[in-house]
C-alpha cells in the first residue's frame, strides 16, 4: 500500500481503540458464549475481522481492543489470528479487559470504556484517537478520514453514512453546514434533519470517531462526573460538545471514498442474516476477494473441502460459500458454511449459515436456519419449514430465521 510521508506520520501518531465490549443481546443465542465482535461471519471470519482488516489496510499499527463480556473467545481469536505486529517496532494489536483502575465496575458505556483507560492515553500520548466499533461490517480507509480531520483542523470528526431520510430515525443523525461542520446531533430523531441540498437524505452516525486526544480526555472525564449520563459517546459526549460550541466537530462523509458505500451494524439476527446472504449476490456489497483490500482472519491448517457428487446430479452447490475442511455430500443452495462442517448424503440445505464443526446427518431438509458451532443434527431432520414445530426446540426470530445454539444435540 502506498502512503505519502505525511499520512504515514498522521497514522503513526494515531491510537486506535476498538470498542468490543457489547453484549449483543439481540444476536442471542449466537452471543450465548461469545461477545458480538467474535460471532463468526462469512464462513471464515469473525465480525471484528472486518474492522481489524480495515485498520491494517489503512496503515494503523497501534490498536487496543477494549473487551468485556464473554471475552475469552475474542481474546483467543486476537491472540491466534492477529499477532502479526511486532512490539519491537512499536506496533501492536492488544486486547484490554476492564482493569478496574478508576472504579471496580465494568464498562458502563462507550464513554466509560474510554474513561477507564485514560491511563493508556497518558502512557501512549497519541496526538489523536480513532474510536471504532468492533461489530460493524464495512470496508473503510480510516487514513482518508484522519487526513480530512487534520485538514479541517477539527477537534472531533464523525464518519457519516448517507441514508434515506425516512429510514434514518433509528440512528444518531447529524445536521451539517456546507463546510461539513456539525451543527446538531440527535439520537433516534422522529424527524431526521436532511443533508443541505438533498432534502430526502440524512447523515447517520457510523460509530467511527477521530478525536484530538485532549478533547477526548476532557470530555470523558466530564461525562464520568456528570449526572444523568448513559456514558455513551453518541448519546452524551457528542451532544455535550456541540452544546459547548467551542469544539470544532466535523462530519466525514463516507461517500467521499466510496460512491457506493456499504456499512452494516449486524446487531440483530435479522440484520446478521441479511448481511450474510448479501455476500452471495453476484454483485456482493463487500468484496472479500480484493487484493488491494484483503480481509484476513486466523487460519488453521485444514485440508481443502471436498464435494461428493457421485450419488447426485451435478450442480448441487449453488450460490454458496464453503470454508476449508468440509465434507459435503448433500446439496447447498445459498448457504455459508464455516470450516470442518459435514453435510450428509441426501441432505438439502437452503439459505443456511452453518458454523464450524457442525455435523448434519443424511437426508435432512433445512432452510433459513443459522446453526452454531459443534451442533449435531441426526438423519432425516427437517428444520425451517414449520416455525411452530421449530419453536419447541429452537429460537425462531421475528424474521422467521431459526437459530440452533452452540453444542446442541438436536433430537
Amino acid at each position: 500500500m502506498r502512503m505519502d510521508t505525511t499520512q504515514s506520520t498522521l497514522l503513526r501518531n494515531t491510537l486506535t481503540l476498538i470498542l468490543a465490549g457489547g453484549q449483543g443481546e439481540r444476536l442471542y443465542p449466537l452471543t450465548k458464549d461469545r461477545s458480538k465482535p467474535s460471532v463468526p461471519f462469512a464462513g471464515s471470519f469473525r465480525i471484528i475481522d472486518f474492522t481489524l482488516s480495515n485498520c491494517i489496510n489503512s496503515g494503523l499499527r497501534h490498536i487496543f481492543v477494549l473487551s468485556q463480556y464473554k471475552s475469552q473467545s475474542l481474546n483467543r481469536h486476537i491472540r491466534e489470528g492477529w499477532s502479526l505486529l511486532h512490539r519491537d517496532l512499536g506496533e501492536f494489536i492488544e486486547t484490554v479487559p476492564p482493569q478496574h483502575r478508576t472504579h471496580s465496575r465494568w464498562y458502563e458505556g462507550t464513554a466509560d470504556a474510554i474513561y477507564q483507560n485514560v491511563y493508556l492515553l497518558e502512557q501512549m500520548r497519541p496526538e489523536r484517537v480513532l474510536i471504532l466499533s468492533g461489530d460493524h461490517i464495512y470496508r473503510m480507509n480510516y487514513g482518508d478520514m484522519i487526513d480530512f480531520h487534520v485538514r479541517k483542523n477539527a477537534d472531533v470528526t464523525i464518519s457519516s453514512f448517507e441514508y434515506p431520510r425516512q429510514d434514518s430515525s433509528p440512528f444518531g443523525v447529524m445536521q451539517v453546514n456546507e463546510d461539513d461542520q456539525i451543527l446538531d446531533f440527535v439520537e433516534k430523531p422522529a424527524d431526521p434533519p436532511p443533508i443541505p441540498g438533498k432534502p430526502d437524505r440524512s447523515l447517520v452516525n457510523m460509530g467511527v470517531y477521530v478525536f484530538n486526544t485532549p478533547t477526548l480526555v476532557r470530555a470523558v472525564i466530564e461525562d464520568a462526573k456528570s449526572a444523568n449520563t448513559k456514558y455513551d459517546i453518541g448519546k452524551n459526549i457528542i451532544p455535550r460538545l456541540i452544546e459547548q460550541e467551542k469544539t470544532r466537530i466535523f462530519s466525514y462523509q463516507f461517500t467521499q471514498q466510496d460512491p457506493h458505500p456499504y456499512w452494516r451494524d449486524v446487531g440483530s439476527i435479522h440484520s446478521y442474516y441479511q448481511a450474510s446472504m448479501a455476500l452471495l449476490d453476484g454483485h456482493a456489497p463487500i468484496n472479500l476477494f480484493s487484493d488491494a483490500w484483503p480481509f484476513r482472519t486466523d487460519s488453521f491448517s485444514l485440508p481443502p473441502s471436498v464435494f461428493h457428487v457421485s450419488s447426485f446430479k451435478a450442480g448441487q452447490i449453488q450460490e454458496s460459500m464453503v470454508a476449508n475442511g468440509c465434507v459435503i455430500e448433500g446439496e447447498l443452495v445459498r448457504c455459508i458454511i464455516s470450516p470442518e462442517v459435514r453435510v450428509g448424503e441426501g441432505s438439502h440445505l437452503e439459505g443456511c449459515i452453518v458454523f464450524n464443526r457442525t455435523r448434519i446427518g443424511k437426508n435432512c431438509k433445512i432452510q433459513n436456519t443459522i446453526i452454531d458451532k459443534h451442533v449435531s443434527i441426526p438423519d432425516n431432520t427437517v428444520i425451517g419449514y414449520d416455525a411452530e414445530s421449530d419453536r419447541k426446540q429452537f429460537l425462531v426470530s421475528d424474521g422467521q430465521i431459526t437459530v440452533i445454539p452452540k453444542n446442541m444435540e438436536v433430537v
Binding site: 478508576t102 485514560v118 497518558e122 464520568a224
Partner: protein, 117 residues
Amino acid sequence: MKTILVIDDEQYLRELYEAELTQEGFNVLLAKDGFEGISLCEQNDPDLVIVDIRMPGMDGLETISRLLNINRKRPILIHSAYPNYQDNFMSWNADDFVVKSGDLTELKQKVRTFLSV
C-alpha cells in the same frame, strides 16, 4: 460545617493547611499519604479533598483515581509544586490544579468556590 481532607506528605505543610483552613471555618482532616487519605475519606465522607502529587508510596494521581472510585462527584483539588503535571491526563481527573507556594490564598479561594461558601 464543611469538611476538607488534605493529603500531603510534608508535615509542616499539613500543619499550615490545618491552621489556615480551620481559621476559614472548615473542619480539617489530615493524611500523610494516599493510603491514609483513602481510609479517612471512606470513614468521614469529606466535602472536598486537597491532594499533593509527589508523595512516597501511592502518588497523588493514583490516589485521585481511587478517591473517584469512592465518589466521582466530590471535588478534588491538586496542590503541587510541579506545574508540569498539569499536562498529565491523569491529573485532569481532578477538578482544579493549584501550583504550590507558601501562600494559600489562591487555594483557599478555589476551595470556597467549589464549596460555594
